[in-house]
Amino acid sequence: MGSTQLPPGTEESLAATTAAAAAPGEPVEMVQLLGPDGKLGSDPVFSDYAKRIDPEKLRVFYTDMARIRRFDQEATALQRQGELALWVPLTGQEAAQIGSGHASQSQDYIFPTYREHGVALVRNVDLAELLKQFRGVSNGGWDPRENNFHLYTLVLAAQTLHAVGYAMGIQRDQKLAAASDSTDPKAAVIAYFGDGASSEGDVHESMVFAASYNAPVVFFCQNNHWAISVPTEVQTKVPLANRAKGYGFPGIRVDGNDVIAVHAVTEWALEHAREGRGPVLIEAYTYRVGAHTTADDPTKYRESAEEAAWREKDPLDRLEKYLRAEGLADEAFFDQVKADGDELAKYVRSTTHGLEVPDIREAFASVYAEQHPLIAEELAWFEEYSAGFESDQEAAN
């Protein structure tokens, strides 16, 4: 990793160029490095960050985006076949998730909402465990402490406050570490949410708290344009990134379908946070190409032409064009990516079938951390009740 010190004046130029208040309808500055045509552009601040991404890393970005898209298709199919109760597709948002996920370091802690399968992949969460929730065998599924990737939060925006509190904890830990000359790397937190959740009061409160305490947190908003059936225009009259200005920290709109720009901007923001310069809001401008969930029907509220227009900006296509044009990946690479994706899909399908149905006793055991007489009493009743059926069965045999 390069220096975390920005050149003099960068903060000012960021403030001036990236989050300039735009009236409704006015064009908004958006950081973009890799355009839909697959050509690499430049940015006065973020090109330096993009230069840190070597060809191998670019191939990893592509592989991960392709794998998570393939996973998304498989999970959707599993839902259609009745193997999952529900699925929340991410197609279209691969660059926003893979780019930002790869910008995080292992000591950073991540609070997702419920669509961040791509970030989960980057954080090495077992994707079969991720499906437990959607198969109805767990309300969580993985151990958040293993990968510093928190459980999905379904009540929108609640996790943005947890993220800020966690970041306040990191601040306190770092003060203690500084006093003891610890060499632990500095950490930050990413709070994921969407354009819909941006209207929730908890997002406002989390930004107020983050600003008040200068908490090391990056708010990563994926503006995918639709909160189920309600378009972003109903949630906000200004670009969401501009809201940061009102809280007193930088806000940046980035092309969410440009994995290079997303990575560069997120890396900058995380360094900003880790170095104690406070929170950052990133608005990743992207699009939910599919339905909100498998229970949703987008044909009822939006034009297929809109979806088609966004498919032209596809995050995978543009990186593929770039990799091919620059000679950074050959046909064998893309064949391998496809094979890896199919392998992942196979793995997920077979492990989903094998996901164990838990015993309700697990639920009794995890309501409280400490002994609780009512839990014990109700469990005892349940055991006795269940035993009654067993002895009936024995009698029948």
Partner: protein
């Protein structure tokens, strides 16, 4: 032994926790230099600094939500909600997150957050400053709910709440903040377990169960009943969730009659839960139906008429008469 008010006892209990547990911290509105609107945190910011006694922005969901995050990072936050009626903006964080994270993670994560709430009426205040919302939280699995009625319990129960690995809502009987009592800061004694009920007065003819602000009222009613030759047992519940039905059951098996008193409305309240459980556990020992004394099914009334709303000695004696003459 030291004599102190309940407010001072909580203050001393918080001081002891802040001293003993470097990961504990207090957060809330005006709890720093002001010492809280009831001065419960008075002087603590001077002693422990503003990283451990944190004045927060005016946002209850923010207070509880960030406390959850701090707990996930290994801290033991103690939140102050300024008044009972202001806890509702945090209701989502408390019920959908705080109460469920341990369960959601199948026990892998703990969120040892304490939420202090001054509650109850009788102080002549304006709307939202006199409510008793404990039943709303007791209905939510994953939370523990306790309420002290005296200074010794207040000193020890707040410390036990902070030690507990589960989230605890600590309801403080605000109209008793200035009630003095003896506190043994060396020995917790019976206060060791904050989730057990205490028989605070023994009797043989009937049992009154109360908690928090109504314990002194129940005791006064029991004393008044001696004039009619009645021997009344009084139980201080102390914990609302879990609820110590064993202690109540044992008492009812002895007295045969039960009155439950709380300031919260009777409908859907804790009294109904106690009545149902005791009916199941001690039906044949009951000489009369369980009688509840509580608030009416109305928003907490204006201060000038709150005396008509609140359970008092006479209302409890009237219930006692009904039970004894059944």
């Amino acid at each position: 032994m030291a004599t102190m008010t309940i407010a001072k006892a909580i203050n001393e209990g918080l001081r002891a926790s802040l001293t003993n547990n470097p990961k504990s911290l207090l957060m809330g509105e005006d709890i720093g230099h002001l010492g809280g609107v009831y001065r419960v945190t008075d002087g603590l910011i001077k002693e422990f600094g503003d990283e451990r006694v944190v004045d927060t922005p005016l946002a209850e969901s923010g207070i509880v939500g960030t406390a959850i995050g701090l707990a996930l990072r290994g801290y033991s936050p103690v939140c102050e909600i300024q008044f009972d009626g202001f806890v509702y903006p945090a209701f989502n964080q408390i019920t959908t997150q705080l109460a469920k994270i341990h369960s959601r993670s199948l026990g892998k994560l703990t969120v040892p957050v304490v939420i202090r709430i001054p509650y109850g009426g009788g102080i002549g205040s304006i709307e939202h400053h006199s409510e008793s919302p404990e039943a709303l939280f007791a209905h939510t699995a994953g939370l523990r709910i306790i309420s002290p009625s005296n200074a010794h319990d207040a000193y020890w129960m707040i410390q036990k709440a902070i030690e507990c690995q589960d989230p605890v809502i600590f309801f403080e009987p605000k109209r008793r903040y200035w009630l003095k009592g003896e506190v043994d800061v060396e020995n917790a004694g019976l206060s060791e377990d904050p989730f057990k009920a205490h028989v605070v007065r023994e009797g043989t003819d009937a049992t009154i169960v109360a908690y928090g602000p109504l314990v002194p009222v129940a005791l006064a009613a029991a004393n008044a009943a001696t004039e009619d030759g009645r021997s009344v047992e009084v139980i201080d519940l102390r914990s609302i969730s879990p609820l110590d039905f064993d202690t109540v059951e044992a008492s009812v098996k002895k007295t045969g009659r039960l009155i439950v008193a709380h300031e919260a409305p009777t409908f859907g309240g804790i009294g109904g839960e106690i009545a149902a459980r005791i009916s199941e556990r001690a039906f044949l020992h009951l000489e009369a139906p369980v009688i509840r004394v509580g608030g009416f099914h109305m928003p907490y009334p204006v201060a000038k008429v709150e005396e008509d709303y609140l359970p008092d000695i006479d209302k409890i004696l009237e219930a006692l008469d009904r039970s004894l003459s059944y």
